[in-house]
């Protein structure tokens, strides 16, 4: 907050739920006094410490790199630790990310979903023969390394999944996080998979052809990954394989 003076009183309106407890989800209001530089992560911890120890939400690093604290913030997927309360109104609504299995309140099981995607798309370097460890690193153009790194920045927070129109209609869609992974390994010369191999993983409506180009994923990615470009590019490459 730039202007000094009386701090705002905030209302955090949180969607409370406990799957398995057989009670309807309901909104609950918590009053928090805003402090300078306050993030939602700080506000939520204050609530849990002072008002309600049973409030569930996930966080680890508080610096936007671990990907734990994704949630719907005023209806839009985002990271709690990267959201300053001053950028929002006096009442902020918080709800769990959709699509993922609900654990309770603001906590969802992104990990289970991400592991499933990793196994399904085999998101690791595929090599016929393991290089000897005595060998030095295989050289790589710095520009290519940078391009791979750019896509490797994904923190698997699930915001793109929560913002995806297709995933709300078919839960077997791999989502932008999955397609971005494929784009990343496709770029990497250390991965020996061909476009045909990748086509077998994502060359249908559960993969790159399921995307309706609504691009919610691109708009909400907290890391600003170029998801729109990557999906469009992959679709062209996969279409070429499909026509063969």
């Amino acid at each position: 907050m730039s202007a000094p003076g009386k701090p705002r009183s905030l209302t955090l309106r949180i969607l409370r739920s406990a799957p398995g407890a057989h009670v309807e989800p309901q909104w609950q209001d918590f009053a928090v006094e805003e402090a300078e530089g306050m993030t939602l992560f700080i506000a939520l911890n204050e609530i849990r410490q002072n008002l309600d120890p049973s409030l569930q939400f996930d966080f680890v690093c508080r610096a936007g790199i671990c990907g734990s604290c994704g949630m719907l913030i005023d209806g839009r997927p985002g990271l709690a630790c990267r959201t300053l309360t001053k950028d929002h109104g006096a009442t902020i609504t918080l709800a769990p990310l959709p699509v993922f299995e609900l654990i309770g309140d603001l906590s969802v099981n992104t990990g289970k979903w991400m592991r499933g995607t990793a196994e399904r798309l085999e998101t690791w370097i595929h090599r016929q023969q393991a290089p000897a460890l005595t060998a030095v690193e295989a050289p790589m153009e710095p520009e290519l390394a940078e391009a791979i790194y750019e896509l490797d920045r994904c923190i698997e927070c699930g915001c793109c999944v929560a913002g995806c129109g297709t995933l709300r209609m078919r839960e077997d869609f791999v989502g932008a996080v999955g397609l971005n992974k494929i784009a990343r390994f496709r770029l990497d010369p250390r991965d020996e998979r061909s476009d045909e191999d990748f086509y077998n993983l994502i060359g249908d409506d559960t993969g790159v052809f399921g995307c309706m180009s609504l691009l919610g994923c691109h708009d909400v990615c907290p890391k600003g990954l170029p998801l729109q470009t990557q999906i469009a590019f992959l679709r062209r490459k996969m279409a070429v394989v499909g026509f063969k």
């Binding site: 996930d58 991400m114 085999e122 460890l133 050289p139 790589m140 153009e141 940078e146 790194y149 923190i155």
Partner: protein, 597 residues
């Protein structure tokens, strides 16, 4: 009470860098392995490491492992064991290249090699000029590393028990380790994980301090469990205060910023590190830079209205360099300090960052304890790696980028040792004692029934304030003495913590109460070990240690060139010699000398 039992060849506690590296070794060798972790593996705190991993690849400037070894021994203020240090620096190239093969997206030089940047305390030619030794993926090296290791583990089909909190170490009458008890956080149920080998890779306990770069999950669980089970903790008085935490927020700003040319300035705009470390300046070792900063602040040259911080200046770097090499730092500075480092310097203060001490191990990752006059006898079935372990390679002060190297080298080494012991038939499944889960069940039962107790948050906060005030960057004899009394008082209160929420399912309050038990062990170990060590060495600097020819910088090698061992029972202290002998004949011992940069 009946407790579910699961049986494995090996159980690993923790799925950060060290745990994942060890798990990979075991999974690929076909051992039936369970990895227990409080959070999904890629959320582990290794993800927050920024600046890089050390290896003397020599891709940008001439380098070799001898220089790296010298820097590490000197950085440790000669408290590091030279056999373990030799082992680590010699393995560095192998583990880094291996990661590169796993797909880790390192930055590259123009000729296609892994990009390396200068880092504090790393030098060419035995301390002469800075060397580029830190292999980096921009300023998110830990993130790239953790994901590469995780992907490799998915490939190897490693079995993770996510959101399981290990509670207590299980030992038999002979002291052999037989596994752990663990609580499933979803249900609150306790299970026994019975195994032939148990590897701890639980990270550090930076949360004992009020101001810390550490994540909230860094509660020293493995260290606390080991201490409660009678394993001594080594060199716990040595804590690293990272020079550049964002003032107020505590979030880390990598030393790589100074590696890329960043400069620390006081209120007068002076580059004050030139006075304290004429050779390496802003790239001196972390303990030295942190103390210099606090001295500037204490002497009235701090910045801001409260004169309580200094400035980290990169405005002279090109915006392109900042965007390319330090994009994450720019994000952090904008959010947590409200400044764009392209235009204005970042306010920073020394912030608790890393635990140099831990569970005593050798370079093979075996946990070692004194027995029958031998200070280093392996505990059957017990291994540890990464920040929770003390090999000891960091001694009294760790060099930046040596922590990611530590977790790779010793995670792998612990894994290799377990696989070798398993394949040779040395590891067997020993029978569980009948009371294997009793301690854990009693801890849970106490939390269920405690009335008129104290709040977990209050006790934790008191502990953090005592640690911050009495065992900080500079230490004072009388404050340490008082600190011991205070921390023992806090520890007494911690026995009566009470939780309001008694539900079984996803009970965060209960988890935090159990974590506090671990933090308290670490806090006691730190304060008591620090009070006892009557000298200045590395990160442990006392007002009553005198800088003279006999004790350079207050370091008293005659009396204190030894490792501390703290036992939880009775807060007993013991000591063991530092290994000044390297592992092989490839290198001479690095001789004791006064430490200057």
């Amino acid at each position: 009470m009946k407790v579910a039992k699961r049986t494995f060849d090996a159980v690993i506690v923790g799925a950060g860098g060290a745990g994942l590296r060890a798990a990979l070794q075991l999974s690929e060798a076909g051992l039936k392995t369970a990895v227990l972790t409080k959070v999904f593996p890629t959320r582990s705190h290794t993800v927050a490491a920024q600046g890089g991993v050390a290896a003397s690849l020599g891709n940008s400037t001439e380098d070799n492992w001898h220089w790296h070894m010298y820097d590490t021994v000197k950085g440790s203020d000669w408290l590091g064991d030279q056999d373990a240090i030799e082992f680590m620096v010699k393995k560095a190239n192998e583990v880094v290249v291996e990661l590169e093969h796993y797909g880790m997206p390192f930055d590259r030089t123009d000729n296609g090699k892994i990009y390396q940047r200068p880092f504090g305390g790393h030098s060419q030619n035995y301390g002469q000029t800075p060397v580029s030794r830190s292999c980096a993926a921009a300023d998110r090296t830990g993130h790239a590393m953790l994901h590469a290791l995780y992907q490799r583990n998915v490939r190897a089909n490693t079995q993770f028990f996510v959101e399981w909190m290990a509670m207590d170490l299980i030992r038999n009458a002979d002291g052999d380790v037989l596994g752990v008890t663990a609580m499933e956080m979803e249900t609150g149920e306790v299970s026994i994980f019975h195994a032939k080998a148990t590897i701890f890779a639980t990270g550090g306990a930076g949360r004992i301090y009020y101001s810390s770069t550490n994540a909230f999950i860094n509660t020293g669980d493995g260290v606390g469990m080991a201490a409660r089970a009678g394993i001594p903790l080594e060199d716990m008085e040595f804590w690293q205060f990272h020079p550049t935490g964002v003032a107020g927020a505590g979030v880390l700003i990598t030393e790589g910023v100074r590696g890329e040319g960043g400069i620390l300035r006081n209120a007068a705009g002076e580059r004050f590190m030139e006075r304290y470390a004429p050779n390496l300046k802003d790239l001196a070792s972390r303990d030295i830079v942190s103390r210099s900063m606090v001295t500037e602040i204490n002497e009235g040259r701090g910045c801001g209205t409260e004169k309580d911080h200094v400035l980290l200046d990169i405005t002279h770097l090109s915006p392109e360099t900042i965007m390319k090499r330090l994009p994450g730092i720019r994000e952090i500075a904008i959010q947590f300090a409200g400044v764009d480092p392209i235009k204005a310097p970042i306010p920073v203060v020394p912030t608790c960052h890393y635990q140099m001490g831990g569970i005593p191990t050798n370079y093979k990752g075996q946990v070692i304890v004194p027995k029958d006059g031998n200070p280093n006898v392996p505990v059957a079935g017990f291994y540890a790696a990464g920040e929770c372990a003390c090999a000891s390679v960091h001694g009294a002060n760790r060099l930046g980028t040596n922590s990611l190297l530590d977790l790779l080298v010793f995670g792998k080494s612990a894994g290799e040792t377990v696989v070798a012991d398993f394949q040779s038939g040395q590891l067997t499944l020993k029978p569980l004692p009948d009371d294997a889960a009793d301690v854990s069940l009693a801890r849970i039962a106490r939390l269920e029934t405690q009335t008129n107790g104290v709040e977990v948050n209050d006790v934790r906060l008191d502990m953090q304030r005592v640690m911050q005030k009495h065992a900080g960057v500079f230490r004072f004899a009388d404050m340490l003495k008082e600190g011991v009394t205070k921390i023992l008082e806090v520890a007494e209160r911690a026995k009566h913590t009470q939780i309001k929420d008694k539900s079984k399912v996803w009970n965060t309050a209960r988890t935090e109460a159990l974590e506090l038990d671990n933090l308290i062990e670490v806090a006691k170990a730190t304060m008591i070990s620090a009070e006892a060590r009557k000298e200045s060495r590395g990160a442990h600097v006392r007002d009553d240690a005198i800088d003279c020819a006999e004790t350079p910088n207050g370091r008293d090698d005659k009396n204190w060139l030894k490792h501390t061992l703290w036992y939880s029972e009775g807060n007993r202290l013991d000591y063991k010699p530092v290994n000044l002998q390297p592992m092989s004949a490839d290198v001479e011992p690095i001789a004791l000398a006064k430490r200057t940069y």
